[in-house]
């Protein structure tokens, strides 16, 4: 008989691999040969079966049976029982009768299926306050590997080879940054973890610190070893009380175990870590402002160069990385640069965590490999827009990122591609907007946020944002002229090019990207005084469309000012002088009978 009848698939996912599934596979091949079954039963490796907690797992086809928790020693017994005697070994069978229970499998749920967890691999599994559990999941193994096998230089080479780029936004290669800092003159060096995550709707760093604080600490110890720093700081905003509490406790535990402090793990390397709590100024996420804040000064950016890696905290070389970047480091060391560089695209390696929020069905934290398209993230993982609404735009990269329309959704997530599209990776906020979002109003909101959070040093940023806000307000109130759009562009250009720090230089992005992709909407506001999303109150008038109105009286009951009148079963009427444009009737009508003037009829040349 040529074809084999049965195949044993042994899971070779990283988790099962760590639990010696490779030896299990060998044991199976050996045992089958011993019993003379190797012609009938094939042994093959497979990728992750999804039950990582239960590994090592095997799948037997065509029976479609999953067994778990097998040891090498169990194999001969297992083959004897299962294949020769034909008994199912109930103790080892995984997944309790899924068919009858109708509980979907984790790997079948779109939200989880498309994700690839590296940094978040311990999410929802570990007690964040327990260092022992972290150690059980191979925590601090990378640190001991580094202390035993690596020189500081070879750590840097490993990080450079991995292609890891800063996850804080700009995407500077992490290894090169470390190298510059290591080679910078001076004996005293510092490293800093930037946990001042201030973007509205972004919570990646908070979640990492809350669920796996030790990964950040381990990454920082390895980084300190590579750079030659003996003192580190975690700059965390005080608005994250839980994260502060957990990282504090984690540092305490690491100190108790001798993983922080003098002579780490009996080596000659010493490193201490301090927490600095920030007062929550958005601008303190900018690295030079952050350093000023740690020094006890006003958080205000200064001119670079000199860059912090040359002259940072107290004029000493200082390496700053974002939480997610630090948390990637132990995984790269443990699994090797090659493993890491296999994930992602040519220039952006690894995974990226996004906080998916806004008008999307599944909101939450998603970790995806670089190179995945925005469409997959929003429509597969996020399950699209709730209700029957149409997708309009996604804002990527926080307030200073950009808004991308539907036609840009197929670009892969990659530092350079996003910048080309007029957005940026940012720290990873993804705000999804549907057709009920007015882009002018949105630009106004973010410009206001950025103006209020601008440190105010540069005229171009402070006044540029204030004047842009002034014009945007005029547009939403219907008082703007078409020339104002040119002024808006000039102001945005001034803010973008003339400001000193990264925040100022990107502060015009909400305006620039909406002007680029949604110019039609601006023109509708300015020229025709209409707001297609029905958000800008001054520009909408609600009317009843008599053909659609069934006279159900729902809107009459909903109207807070009594502006809608009309007998039952006859088309209602809205008294414009009483209408306060609260949208209550528009939202409640089941027949789409309440409408603004049909804007689609307006043709823009």
């Amino acid at each position: 008989m040529g074809s084999k009848r049965t195949t044993i698939y042994v899971c070779m996912g990283t988790s099962c691999d760590a639990r010696k599934s490779r030896r299990l596979q060998e044991a199976f091949s050996r045992a089958l040969k011993d019993k003379g079954l190797h012609d009938e039963i094939d042994v093959s490796a497979t990728s992750c079966l999804g039950y990582c907690d239960e590994g090592p797992n095997i799948l037997i086809e065509p029976e479609n049976l999953m067994y778990h928790n097998l040891n090498e020693e169990d194999v001969p017994f297992f083959i004897e029982e299962h294949f020769i005697k034909g008994n199912r070994l109930e103790n080892y069978i995984l997944a309790p009768g899924n068919g009858e229970l109708k509980i979907p499998d984790m790997t079948d749920i779109n939200f989880f299926k498309h994700q690839r967890l590296v940094v978040l691999r311990n999410r929802g599994r570990l007690e964040p306050d327990s260092i022992d559990e972290y150690i059980a999941m191979d925590g601090y193994a990378a640190l001991s590997k580094v202390l035993e096998e690596y020189t500081p230089e070879s750590i840097i080479v490993e990080i450079i080879d991995s292609g890891l780029r800063g996850r804080g936004g700009a995407g500077f290669p992490t290894g090169r940054k470390w190298q510059i800092c290591r080679n910078a003159p001076g004996n005293e060096k510092y490293i800093v973890c930037n946990a001042d995550e201030g973007d509205p709707g972004a919570f990646m760093d908070r979640s990492i610190l809350e669920s796996d604080p030790h990964a950040v600490i381990e990454g920082m110890i390895i980084g300190a070893r590579a750079i030659g720093a003996n003192q580190g700081f975690v700059y965390i905003r005080d608005e994250y009380p839980l994260a502060v509490q957990r990282i504090k406790k984690a540092i305490q535990q690491a100190e108790d175990y001798g993983l922080l402090g003098d002579h780490i793990l009996g080596s000659d390397f010493s490193f201490t870590l301090k927490i600095v709590r920030g007062a929550g100024a958005f601008v303190c996420g900018e690295e030079t402002a952050l350093l000023a804040s740690i020094e006890g000064k006003v958080g205000r950016p200064r001119q670079r160069p000199p860059f912090p890696v040359i002259k940072g905290l107290w004029r000493k070389p200082t390496n700053i990385n974002n939480v997610e970047t630090w948390a990637n480091v132990p995984h790269i060391i443990r699994n090797g640069a090659k493993w890491f560089s296999n994930i992602g695209t040519a220039k952006s390696k690894g995974t990226k965590i996004f906080s998916l929020v806004g008008k999307v069905t599944n909101t939450g934290l998603v970790e995806v490999p670089m190179g995945i398209t925005l469409r997959e993230v929003i429509f597969d993982i996020g399950a699209g827009i709730p209700g029957d609404k149409k997708f309009k735009a996604v804002q990527i990269g926080g307030p200073s990122g950009g808004c991308l329309p539907d036609k840009m959704l197929d670009i892969p997530i990659d530092y350079d591609q996003l910048v080309q599209a007029g957005a940026m990776m940012g720290s990873g906020g993804l705000i999804v907007m549907d057709e009920t979002t007015c882009m002018v109003d949105l630009a106004k909101y973010f410009t206001k946020f950025l103006y209020e959070e601008s440190c105010g040093k540069c005229w171009s940023c402070r006044e540029g944002l204030r004047r842009m806000l002034e014009i945007l307000t005029k547009i939403t109130e219907g008082k703007a002229k078409e020339e104002d759009l040119d002024t808006l562009r000039d102001l945005a250009e001034m803010t973008k090019y003339a400001s000193m720090c990264g925040l100022g230089q990107t502060a015009a992005n909400p305006v620039l990207s909406t002007l680029k992709y949604f110019e039609k909407e601006y023109i509708l506001h300015v020229r025709y005084k209409r707001c297609p999303a029905k958000v800008c109150k001054a520009l909408i008038n609600f009317y009843v469309i008599p053909e659609r109105c069934t006279g159900c009286m729902r809107c009459v009951a909903a109207c807070p000012t009594g502006a809608i009148t009309g007998p039952r079963s006859e088309p209602h009427n809205i008294d414009q002088s009483k209408c306060i444009k609260c949208r209550a009737c528009y939202e409640i009508c089941k027949f789409n009978a309440i409408e603004d003037v049909i804007v689609d009829a307006i043709v823009i040349k």
Binding site: Y451, E453, K457, W459, E463, I471, M494, A498
Partner: protein, 232 residues
């Protein structure tokens, strides 16, 4: 010595020289507002921006805070710089139209229109006074407080400062307080004065072809019949 290119010219400066100092040394005019020789460099007004070009890439930086480095390629008056500088002056003019220094800048750089709402503020928040107070007068009485919308120059906790000696250094250095432009009737003519840039200033009748060296020009102030703002 540091060698770099300034407007296409090969130049040499000592280490630690800012691009602004280098440009002024070599005679290239670069406007400034928050810069003063006796004070630390701040980089707030952004008027002194210059363009750094490298291949296809270009960056705009404030020359007063950017130290000269080898192999830079600096342009003090590129098209981009001039355009942005005009927008900056335009917004300054709309915010503080009574500042003679800003009016002069507007005349000099050809800002003939103001497209944003005209306000009548008295402060540009350039921070000259705070640096004057701290660095030259050893006063530490005033500072920049808050950020964004609430940024202002004030004493600690808005209370009268114990360290303030009423030396007046802050007023002396202020580009808006000390030298007032009495020109524009904002309600009537808009915020642009341009009287000083007039080719036939009123003093010519009396002083013939003499060059005016008064700053501010007393003759100009007396000679005009423009309405004097009540604050003066």
């Amino acid at each position: 010595m540091i060698k770099f290119k300034l407007n296409g010219l090969e130049v040499q400066v000592e280490e630690g020289t800012t691009l602004l100092e280098a440009a002024h040394f070599y005679g290239f005019p670069v406007p400034t507002l928050c810069y003063h020789e006796g004070l630390s460099n701040w980089g707030g007004c952004r008027l002194c921006i210059v363009e750094l070009k490298q291949g296809n890439q270009s960056r705009i930086v404030s020359s007063c805070t950017y130290l000269a480095q080898n192999d830079l390629n600096v342009f003090t008056n590129s098209e981009k710089v001039v355009k942005i500088r005009k927008t900056i002056i335009e917004t300054m003019l709309a915010t503080v139209p009574t500042s003679k220094i800003v009016q002069d800048l507007a005349s000099k750089y050809g800002v003939h229109r103001v497209r944003v709402a005209v306000e009548n503020k008295d402060c540009l928040l350039c921070g000259l006074c705070t640096r004057m107070c701290i660095e030259q007068m050893d006063g530490k009485a005033i500072g920049l407080v808050g950020r964004g919308d609430s940024l202002k120059i004030t004493t600690a906790f808005d209370k009268r400062s114990d360290t303030c000696r009423l030396c007046g250094g802050c007023i002396y250095i202020c580009p808006a307080c000390q030298i007032r432009c009495i020109g524009p009737n904002i309600e009537k003519d808009g915020p642009i004065c341009n009287a000083c840039a007039n080719l036939e200033p009123p003093c010519l009748d009396q002083f013939e072809n003499m060059m005016c060296y008064m700053d501010p020009c007393v003759a100009c102030e007396i000679g005009t019949e423009k309405p004097v703002k009540s604050k003066l």
